[in-house]
């Protein structure tokens, strides 16, 4: 959907995506949830902070940061949410279940770093 420097050959124009419009991460990327501890409204549960998972899907279209939206800021720049898969054993050190079990959750781009 958003391609960097989309150029139409010979058409005489170039599309330059705005800041934040192009997804940083892609399906298959290994990412880690940041260990931020915000004061006030947040939507990334504490149980996920600092955990490592794999991006399954880049959710389209880009969306409003729901943590800012909670304070009424529901317009302006949009970035991507990512559906991330975490093995349960990566989240819980003493997980009881199958090693195949996993957790899937949407995380906003500003909460992730590539590893």
């Amino acid at each position: 959907m958003s391609n960097p420097s989309h150029t139409a050959n010979g058409a005489g124009y170039r599309i330059v995506p705005a800041l934040g419009e192009t997804p940083i991460f892609h399906a298959g990327d290994r990412v880690r949830v940041l260990t931020r501890e915000p004061i006030g409204h947040y939507r990334v549960p504490r149980y996920l902070r600092g955990k490592t998972g794999v991006v399954k899907t880049v959710i389209e279209p880009a969306g409003i940061d729901n943590e800012e939206e909670g304070y009424g800021r529901n317009a302006g720049n949009r970035r991507h949410y990512y559906r991330i898969a975490f093995p349960m054993t990566a989240i819980w050190p003493d997980y009881v279940g199958s090693p195949r079990d996993g957790l899937f959750i949407e995380v906003y781009e500003t909460w992730l770093e590539r590893i």
Partner: protein, 219 residues
């Protein structure tokens, strides 16, 4: 019962029927006060609450059950549903969704069992399942489904073999989820309506599998 018009007491009152126990509770009166003030100030319409109650009442798990049954009998529909849950429900069933929410329909297979939860609040696919049950919104389920899903499922009488992967989906943003349960054996001759009758709310949350008694037998 719903929005009174401020001062006209000839209309219904949103309080306990005369002769029954109790004045309206504190929160009931708070809701009435807030609503009436908003209507008086023309910030919301006098009839909009009643209208929205009709919308809420129209949404029940029966709609989700129809969607599941259709997916069981129609592979092309199933494929579209999996590819884009919201668009397919809008196009084929006229469902309207909230804001920018999307819908991901999660297929259970012989290798994967899906379970949905909202640890932070109570996100739930309301447009196709109606309102969530109390237990879905309460602490035990929300706290434990993400850390010990197998133990939670066992409390519902559901045992998932170790070679089946459990996927827990925690709704925190715009995506809403619905489980597409496995069609049980022995239903090859069932009509779509008969299939839909087997599909209960809890099978679409993922805490129980479909059974041929349609959940009528108490667990």
């Amino acid at each position: 019962m719903e929005s009174s018009h401020g001062h006209d007491h000839a209309h219904d009152h949103p309080h306990a029927e005369l002769g029954q126990a109790g004045r309206p509770g504190y929160y009931d009166m708070l809701e009435t006060a807030v609503r009436e003030l908003l209507v008086e100030r023309k910030l919301i319409g006098a009839d909009e609450i009643r209208r929205q109650i009709e919308v809420l009442d129209s949404r029940t798990p029966a709609l989700g059950a129809k969607i599941v049954a259709r997916a069981w009998v129609d592979p092309a529909f199933r494929a579209r549903l999996i590819a884009d849950g919201r668009a397919t429900c809008e196009a084929d069933f006229g469902v309207t969704f909230y804001d920018d929410t999307s819908l991901i329909v999660l297929e259970n297979t012989d290798k994967v069992h899906n379970l949905i939860v909202c640890t932070l609040c109570s996100c739930y696919p309301r447009p196709i399942l109606g309102l969530p049950p109390d237990w879905y919104k309460a602490k035990p389920y929300r706290a434990r489904a993400v850390i010990e899903p197998r133990a939670v499922l066992a409390e519902f009488g559901t045992v998932i073999p170790d070679d089946v992967e459990i996927r827990v989906h925690d709704s925190t943003a715009m995506v809403r989820y619905m489980v597409l349960p496995r069609r049980p054996a022995g239903t090859e001759s069932y009509s779509e309506d008969q299939l839909a009758a087997l599909v209960t709310r809890d099978t679409m949350i993922g805490v129980v599998p479909i059974t041929l008694d349609g959940g009528r037998v108490a667990r």
